[in-house]
Symmetry: C2
Subunit: 485 residues, 2 copies
Amino acid sequence: MASQQPPPSQHNTTPSQQPHINTADDERGRLASDAASSATTPSDPIKYPGTVLINVQGAFIEVETPELPRTPGGTVHDYHHDTSDIVLPNHKAVVSHIAVDIGGSLAKLVYFSHEHKSLEAGGRLNFLKFETDKIDSCIDFMRQLKLRHEQLNGHPPPGRPGGELCIMATGGGAFKFYDRIKDALGVEVLREDEMECLIIGLDFFINEIPNEVFTYSEESPMSFRPRPDPADPLSPSIYPYLLVNIGSGVSMIKVLGPRNFTRVGGTSLGGGTLWGLLSLLTGARNFDEMLKSAESGDNTAVDMLVGDIYGSGYGKIGLKSSTIASSFGKVYRMKREAEREAEDGGGLANGDRKHGRSGDEEEDHGKDGGDTRTFKAEDISRSLLYAVSNNIGQIAYLHAEKHGLEHIYFGGSFIGGHRQTMNTLSYAIKFWSKGEKQAYFLRHEGYLGSVGAFLKRQPPNWGRRNSLDAGAGMGNVLERIGSRT
Amino acid sequence: MASQQPPPSQHNTTPSQQPHINTADDERGRLASDAASSATTPSDPIKYPGTVLINVQGAFIEVETPELPRTPGGTVHDYHHDTSDIVLPNHKAVVSHIAVDIGGSLAKLVYFSHEHKSLEAGGRLNFLKFETDKIDSCIDFMRQLKLRHEQLNGHPPPGRPGGELCIMATGGGAFKFYDRIKDALGVEVLREDEMECLIIGLDFFINEIPNEVFTYSEESPMSFRPRPDPADPLSPSIYPYLLVNIGSGVSMIKVLGPRNFTRVGGTSLGGGTLWGLLSLLTGARNFDEMLKSAESGDNTAVDMLVGDIYGSGYGKIGLKSSTIASSFGKVYRMKREAEREAEDGGGLANGDRKHGRSGDEEEDHGKDGGDTRTFKAEDISRSLLYAVSNNIGQIAYLHAEKHGLEHIYFGGSFIGGHRQTMNTLSYAIKFWSKGEKQAYFLRHEGYLGSVGAFLKRQPPNWGRRNSLDAGAGMGNVLERIGSRT
């Protein structure tokens, strides 16, 4: 990284965000959907929009979304429109594709829209989430986008399919729902490899979007990392790094360069585990409720600490009294205790229930007589959030250690900008690596895959599918996307 | 390891068990509680039993316990007497100490008893578990042992405290309950370091007890590993290894030699997590019920598989369709679905509930309207057992990999001889290490710490506490216990 505060672009600044564009690199502001413009010579990029570049010059994040598109006939609850758009003030050409990353729990949609229906005013990337379970709402939303696209740009002329909307799809759902999407929309659906899209998307965010990547600590919650400066030969490479993508499950991907990545591990204890168990244990109906609940919880009401076992710390091996020895380790005993009291007729009035807690959100999870109104939903939420995050952090550290990687990026919708989650992950990396490894987060952490798929869009008839294995033209494109180091 | 079937001892054989003692090593059958017999010259080992050696010559495991001691006034349910005693047919001296390892959930007790009240017939090591929550039952049991000891051996003469029963205590509870035990029994209580005891106990089991250590696979569920043969110079060292001790929480200890060990990691997702969450989720009242339930469960009813996301496998990176992508990853969606149906008035009669399952053990965990009789206790049990075991397996592999360790021993009461657990742990090690690392299990896996504490008993006035840091006499003892390789 060249400096903490690179000078703002001469061409484009947005005072509130101070985006920095390196004007020494004329190509920097242009990102391929089809960087191989030497291979095709688009005579009219507006008329045949499959062949335009996405112009990211002057791109910045805008937090308030001016207009919230609605799905006609649907409800606003079928999707969540993220409020952090990426404004592309210099992209004036039509974009004829949208991208969707369909995971086990969530479908993440990215599309470009022009400001005020005027091409000259530039536009923005929009970010939406649907529950995968409501994939039909997602498809319906894409149909609206298709109709709008046709309204604005007309139908493509016969034999020039470039003007027609195309769907770039990745994630498992790209395969599972391929026929459904294709049949419902009647458009081309291109399926892209999930891991590759994650990496392309992450590289794009790291290299191109200001105020996107940050570190997290309690003292300095959101400390933005400046983008690498391609004009500075001393600017360190962003590679190698580990990407930890936390969705329903967790994938860990070692990345050595733009095309050089391997999935080295993962864990089935991910967001789906947290959401699933908490929906059973606390009655919470959505992720936000669960996370909010966790914020006010006290995990020590259910977790067994080193101090609970030792009566103090276990100094000899450096385990503090407050270290969590066993997540939910107090529950079994307390539940048994409560059951015995109920059986003995002592019930809730028994003063011996020193661990017993009560509150409005209590629940009875047992079926067989024992009174178990002992655990608060928020305590359970916090405990499980800690358990899952700590565990991912430790496994991420161990994989990073194994492969000699210092930089660990956390992506995926599990994080959702939630401070406790990021703090736990960040602390775990710091703790295990003794400060030698650094955790990074992103403001668009849930959209790595869909942005990667969005960027993979190539002009029609360009032969991108063959180039994927041959590595020729495609390699060039990806290098331009990812290797600005 | 010298051979698969070493010749039986010339002195002692038990036909059903074929124990093998190497008679070339005269000292082999003698294990220190006070191996430093050169430092003290016991004039009468029977009268002053603190100074005798534990004679393990001809030791073997006997599965049926002939007499089950009962705690007078207590119920049999306050403890679990393990049925695998270790018979010591050649130990004829009085043993004046018992050992207890008090963890967060369980207290594990080891004591020696003579056969038929005759010293000449040898005796056996007995193994008992108490819930730590019922520590008073455990203390009461120890009081009975003390009374019996005094009945058999009389009170010690003044100034020679060796005849009095002494408690060797380890685990966090040795510190937390120190005063309580000491006050209740009025005997000496020696506190020993937990990790050190685990290693001493494990080394003892590996080196001295036939048919104790085994590998596990579905095809060959219990394949005993022969003990290392100290007479064979080509017999490989048992070091280095990783011990993964799974109690309420999990400790991972790198062991390079008898006195050379470091706790390298651990996870709070251990037995306490499984027991705690399952007691909340399934209403099961004890560990056995939970494990039995898991055996008949189908985790794919709650886990999200790769096939659920992709509709098939994700061949490119080697993830099979049947791989668990997200533990409990189906739950949130199914619960929401059930709630929506209940809200829509569709209720349980709605034929669309394709994932819905029903059975006698159904439960309603929700509080707020949604009918969630969707999940079977046994499916939940199996899923969580897999999740916790797989996770421990992966972290164990990663630590073993980091430290270059090929042999991984799994100890701790979590395992409890349960086949699914061992199979999952064993498979995880095999999977992650591509067959290069081996998981080992023990028949007395829950008693490593208490056996270690039992073996640490030194004769009175022998200065063992000072020697712990000086490493002189103590080091000798431990080498004799652990380094027969």
